[in-house]
Amino acid sequence: MSSRALRQPLGLKLTSASFLALWCIVAAFPIFWITVMSFKSPVDAFSSNALNVVFGPHTRDTGHGISILDILLGIAVIWITARIMTKTLPGMIASYAPGGQKWAGWVIGVLVVAIGFLVTFFAILPAILDVLNPWFGPLGRDIIGLTTEHYKTVWVDRGFSNNFKNSMIVTTGVVTISLTVGTLAGYGLARSGSGLAFAILIIALVFRALPHSVLVAGYLPVFISSSEWLAPILGENAPTLYGKPFAVIAVLVAINQPFTIWMLRSFFQSIPAELDEAARVDGCNHFQAFRRVIMPVMWPGVITTGLFSFLLGYNDFLVTSLLLDAQNQTMVPAIAGMFSRETTTTDQVVAVAAAVSITAPLFFLVMVFQRQIVSGLTAGAVKG
């Protein structure tokens, strides 16, 4: 839009910018607010006076607080992390990771940065500040009440890390299988103009319209008694599907298939068919063409679709709460359980801290992949 003719008048620009600012506030406020709440003592967190929630006088009186210096250094660390995530990391991956293994580069890179951030922010920084604060006089005095004890309760005492691990298992499974199965189907559907292909798409759409609660309630008795009805086929080792992450993964993949194949189909349609036809003229069959020609160019669409699968697996409540038991429960039902049984206000703030904890990985994920999402969508992952 560099052309002069399309330049906009100042008034319009200002209106647009101020509405955008307003939207950003609306979008971020609830998340910002529960984050603030999670760092306060129960009395402050549920206070009806907004200033009490923000400044946490009660929390400060109990000896937990941060000074201006703390805030400045904290912001600096966050800013540097964001900078590394969005600027340095992509560059490093581009130069160091070999072409085919970009994803591995990303996984390792993100992990290193995330761990580095956690260590710096929660271990190194407090240690440094303990030493520095007394030196800086008023700048080093606590002005805002803030406590991380609820996070300690969640992660250390309540064993939330186990739920985190379970969530990771389920989510990773859902994303990998969903994309493997979905990519093949999406490609097949995109390249076949037959009525059958279209019928499959329409039926998939109908499937997507089915209320999930009905499906899921139907699974429960079948999953619980599976070792009985599977015994004739699998003998004594027949598994009880209830409480098994792989069974939940299969269910979530299936539920998500309609959306996945629709998205990937329209993405593959935007890749010119001449590409793989040329490969087939060179003697490749469909699968070889798919592997050699399509796979290298399909990543933008696959990453975008993958992100939606990730959100589904990570955020699911209905399936995971019903089909998993306490030992392999994921984070969302664990938190819902906390809210439904917690009877004290302290416990509620702990649950809020858990809620913020589960949002944090999503934060990182979007920070890293945001450009890929947009480019994937632009490249045609959505064509209707």
């Binding site: 839009m1 971020a28 189907a185 390249r191 499906l215 539920i255 949002t359």
Partner: protein, 340 residues
């Protein structure tokens, strides 16, 4: 592509959908025409439970299901035709209510109450989601390059946040003297209770859904805006088209497939509105069709569940969605025929 190759590509996906969706769907359809129930015997039972200081024993007539030799409950399944649908729809009662008290009387019957809200919810949020989505997309597109990244990031937050958590945080912000209710009270200078009447809850539920879904629409539209043909725009400018006309004749037609895509997804999801009802615990005032299905389905504390009515209600929900989708599907069908 021959059929064999096609089947190999599509097979795994179709198999999973058949196993986990089509098969349960078929059984739901069947269950909606049948009723399965145990055979009860009435027996006199003495039950003793704790009291102060001594036990309380009560002798009552109780209905106890018959067990077979394996110790399983004997169940009989009978074909009841459309009876479960009739039980859900309560047509006769609805008709009488309408005849005597007018249309509003339908509100006293669960299914119609739920249908009323579900339809209102779906049809009001749809234009809002499309409008806000497009608006945000245009604003992001207008923003300078330096802030685009952060703005997209913030815009995506409501979409990625776990729905359960999102609904709960709205709950904290508005319930009782929640921070935003306090703000409204301060602005209006009077006491406000957001959860004490139906319309405020309905507004909250709709706003929450728009907040949650508009970012998805926005990001899709934004992606679409990147591919608008700038030559077409420039020639429109040369022809003297106003900003609004350019929007109407160049940008919107370009985005039409995306608008249809978003509408389809949104109609399906909004018609199944459920989490908000539970999250806002609004069932005293407002219920939705999927909530009704869910309510039939969850066992009460004594283990009874209304599977047949739940199945019937689920099928009715699907029919509703299908009816809403027909116009959009017809277009997709025409596109498909046009393509090939």
């Amino acid at each position: 592509m021959n059929f064999k190759t096609f089947a190999a590509f599509v097979g795994p996906s179709v198999f999973m959908m058949l196993l986990f969706i089509a098969f349960p769907l078929a059984s739901v359809l069947k269950q909606s025409f049948y009723v399965t129930q145990p055979i009860y015997d009435t027996v006199e039972v003495e039950t003793c439970s704790p009291g102060f200081p001594d036990q309380i024993c009560v002798t009552e007539q109780k209905s106890v299901p018959q067990l077979d030799e394996d110790g399983k409950i004997v169940e009989i399944t009978t074909f009841v035709g459309l009876q479960s649908y009739r039980n859900v729809l309560e047509l006769e009662r609805a008709w009488n209510a309408v005849k005597t008290d007018g249309l509003m009387a339908l509100q006293s019957i669960d299914f119609w109450k739920a249908l009323r809200f579900t339809l209102t919810f779906t049809l009001i949020t749809l234009p809002l989601v499309l409008g806000f989505g497009l608006g945000i997309a245009l604003m992001i597109n207008n923003a300078s390059l330096a802030i685009k990244g952060p703005v997209i990031f913030i815009s995506l937050l409501p979409f990625i946040i776990t729905p359960v958590i999102g609904a709960l945080s709205i709950n904290w912000l508005f319930r009782g003297d929640g921070i935003l209710t306090a703000l409204i009270e301060w602005y209006l200078q009077r006491d406000v209770s957001m959860f004490a009447q139906a319309w405020t809850i309905e507004v909250l539920i709709m706003l929450y859904r728009v907040w949650h879904v508009a970012p998805f629409a926005a990001i899709v539209f934004y992606a679409g805006l990147q591919t608008v043909n700038s030559d077409a725009l420039e020639s429109a400018v040369i022809d003297g088209a106003s900003r609004w006309q350019r929007m109407k004749y160049v940008v919107i037609p370009h985005l039409t497939p995306l608008i249809i895509f978003i509408s389809m997804i949104h109609l399906m999801d909004a018609y199944r509105v459920f989490e908000e009802i539970v999250g806002f615990s609004s069932q005293g005032y407002v219920i939705s069709l999927q909530w009704l299905t869910y309510d039939f389905l969850v066992p009460d504390q004594a283990g009874n569940r209304s599977i047949s009515r739940a199945s019937a209600s689920a099928m009715l929900t699907m029919i509703g969605i299908a009816a809403l989708l027909v116009p959009l599907l017809r277009r997709t069908w025409q596109d498909h025929k046009g393509d090939h």
